[in-house]
Symmetry: C2
Subunit: 304 residues, 2 copies
């Protein structure tokens, strides 16, 4: 998502949001909307993927189906919800045959089964570009938003970052699919569904890292009215330093997306790595090893 | 929807459907999926619209927003559900400005307010074609499917058919937008939300007529294991005969879509017009005024 998309979503919030007793988290306030149905928190999200903007070259149809579901499950995971149901709409091109379509669905089914998700609806039509839009429904006794971070919280991520973008750049530079560093991060990211549900038991704020750590942290800082400090000395870059130099590795870690890890703030850690803490103030800061504080901008890598 | 799309949806059913206690109506079994959440029937549907395939030339942005919501509410109406929540994903083209986007959302909001629907989620990105995918959530104490028609039921429709396609053909033949017969049917169809909820109290089978009456009736006949007879003498064509000859009018009535009326089978009528009855046997038949029975094929007009 780029800055223009965030601006448009802000416009949508302004025009569409309604106050209603059964709406707990409204449109554009968070990763997901939360609504009440008979004393349950129903967590709803939608996310779409385009062939040209979102699917790396050489992606297999099974992976397309996986990805379409994964990005939606990742949104639910960022709220700590247990996923239950999924619906999709898919636009196929005329060059797509039945076998390709079947493989997309098998990829979707495999991931759905792993997390007990039932795909209960779908709509198919034809157009000029392969396109999948997904809608996921989950439930959460306790859901976590981006706006609950508290001064004194520590900041954690569930896994290493930068792998998807590194792999993409290798692919775009001509490296074969079999030889890129982290093909699964790029083609078949695993949504942190179980981690999200466990973290929700103690976290104050959480979101998934779809666009970049920088964007996710800025959203948490802004919505929670706090500052966030990330410590360079705590950032693990070994998985990137085998392939790129230090500055590039740090940039990938902070500003690239596609790994679909979670970032959360809490007094305690249940999954992943500690990278910083929540402080008084505003904005997100990278505290370098030499003590200098650098502003972490609201920026992610553009889609390819 | 064309035959190929129905075949693909059948494949999706085969690959994706799972048996689970909380799934009452599964993928591709009906207009909507029905799932159970704490003793409530949650009715879920998704539907997508493409600029080139689904938006008539000259459609206004407010009408695009209206249409995107209307087609999903029509699916819920066909199940007799009360609509509660809506989420969308929208792909904008680079030629679309902020004003155009705002108007789309205002059109959506206006229709949503009319039926007490809250738009709680949205996702925006950019691509080569304007595209909106929608996801609607409703509840129904009693939901109606396509598979409950009983021999002896009478068959009803909630309103006159053929108006949208007639208007489209006028538009395509060069008639100005202000001068086509039924602009609202084409550009701003009204989903039969309240009618659907009331009909659900007594109907045995129901569905919306998005593709054509012929397709909707064939789905009901097939899924209910019954035959359906439609009587030519009961069909009202006056609204079309002002513009086209009798054969064309009858063809528009039976085989064109876009009016988003409901068709239902019941012992009693609460809305609309009677057009036929449910009989022993298989398939859908048009009984001509001279007594001849003609098979009503599974066919709709292609999208433009």
């Amino acid at each position: 998502m780029n800055v223009r998309e965030f601006e448009l979503i802000e416009i949508a919030r302004e025009i569409l949001s309604v106050k209603r007793d059964d709406i707990v988290v409204n449109i554009a306030e968070d990763d997901c909307a939360v609504v009440r149905i008979c004393d349950k928190n129903l967590v709803l999200t939608s996310d779409c993927l385009h062939e040209r903007a979102d699917f790396p070259k050489g992606i297999k149809p099974e992976e397309i189906g996986h990805m379409a579901l994964a990005v939606n499950l990742s949104d639910l995971a960022g709220s700590g919800a247990k996923p239950l149901f999924f619906l999709y709409t898919i636009t196929l091109t005329n060059s797509v045959d039945e076998r390709f379509f079947r493989k997309i669905l098998h990829g979707m089914r495999r991931l759905a089964d792993r997390y007990g998700v039932a795909v209960v609806g779908g709509d198919v039509d034809f157009g000029d570009e392969l396109f999948i839009s997904g809608f996921a429904v989950g439930v959460a006794d306790k859901y976590i938003t981006q706006s609950g971070a508290k001064v004194g919280d520590r900041v954690f991520i569930t896994g290493l970052l930068g792998k998807a973008q590194l792999s993409l750049e290798q692919l775009l530079s001509g490296v074969k699919r079999d030889l890129i560093a982290y093909p699964d991060s790029l083609f078949k990211p695993e949504p942190r569904v179980l981690e999200g549900m466990e973290i929700a038991e103690h976290a104050n704020a959480m979101t998934d890292i779809s666009d970049s750590l920088a964007i996710s942290l800025n959203l948490i800082a802004k919505k929670s009215h706090v500052g966030i400090e990330i410590y360079e000395e705590k950032i693990v870059l070994d998985h990137l330093l085998k392939f790129v130099d230090y500055d590039k590795a740090l940039d990938l870690f902070m500003y690239s997306g596609g790994d679909y890890e979670l970032v959360y703030t809490s007094k305690k850690m249940s999954h992943g790595f500690e990278i910083g803490k929540v402080v008084d103030g505003k904005g997100v800061w990278l505290v370098r090893k030499n003590g200098k504080r650098e502003k972490v901008k609201f920026r992610g890598y553009s889609h390819f």
